[in-house]
Amino acid sequence: MARVTFRADRCKGCGLCTTVCPKKIVIMDTETINEKGFHPATVIEMEKCIGCAMCATICPDCVIKVER
């Protein structure tokens, strides 16, 4: 069981995290706009997360915290 948490207010919406997720569960939340005006990244189907931290490794803005 792994868990990722996103600091949505810090996300600049670059989408790099969505390109590296091996389970393809990180997406850009186009329903939401954060205080900077970006669509922040979020995770769907958290139960599929394996806690590999690849999303957090490539995130340029330290938005993502990974627990396992």
Binding site: M1, R3, R10, K12, G13, C14, G15, L16, T19, V20, F38, G51, A53, M54, A56, T57, I58, C59, P60, D61, C62, I64, K65, V66, E67, R68
Partner: protein, 250 residues
Amino acid sequence: METVFDRPHALSDVVTNFCPGCTHGIITRLVAEVLDELGMEGKAVGVAPVGCSVMAYNFYECDMQEAAHGRAPAVATGIKRVHPENLVFTYQGDGDLAAIGTAETVHAAARSENITIIFVNNAIYGMTGGQMAPTSLVGQVTQTTPYGRKVEDQGYPIRMSEMLSTLEGSAYIERVAVDSVPNIRKAKAAIKKAFQCQLDKKGFSLVEVLSTCPTNWGKSPEEALDWLRENMMPQYPLGVYCDKLSKEGE
């Protein structure tokens, strides 16, 4: 639950000034992660450059000093000579290190100053709006080379790592990239080795990191990573160019 990834302690909890998808943010974080792992946060002194990373003095919890454009290696030399017990590093872009600051960089290496330079190469001037840099590729379209960089007018790109590795004063020089997760991990290992080189008093160390500039390259963050792989890596091959640590350890 165990935390497997979180913001490093040495990285201040501030929002960086970097554009969305700019890999400067990754490199800034890697340096902070290495400071954490070496337990050097309280003993490190960083020197910030002029360029996109000019605000680097706000990003780290260690002591920081701003330098005049290109003069970071000279400022770091002074700090290191007065405080040899401290870990002194500079964080510089290609416009700072390879253009206005070439002399300071070359002579710091020639003197084998015991400092570490993190050199971010994105083949363009980012902060000033995308003008040609000495590291811009032949044919690369920039604000000042709208028809592409021409050899007959602007000459050839400078390979700093190769150039500096010819100097006897250089102790550790490696070129890495942050285009993928495996390469990001390798980049972190290189930064750690460069810092260790300084802690072991081996002399001048430099890590050149190939980075992206999605805004001024006119590409999405993902396309910029592809562009880096396809165009920058053939011109700037990754690898270790100088390593006195391993040589002596053999």
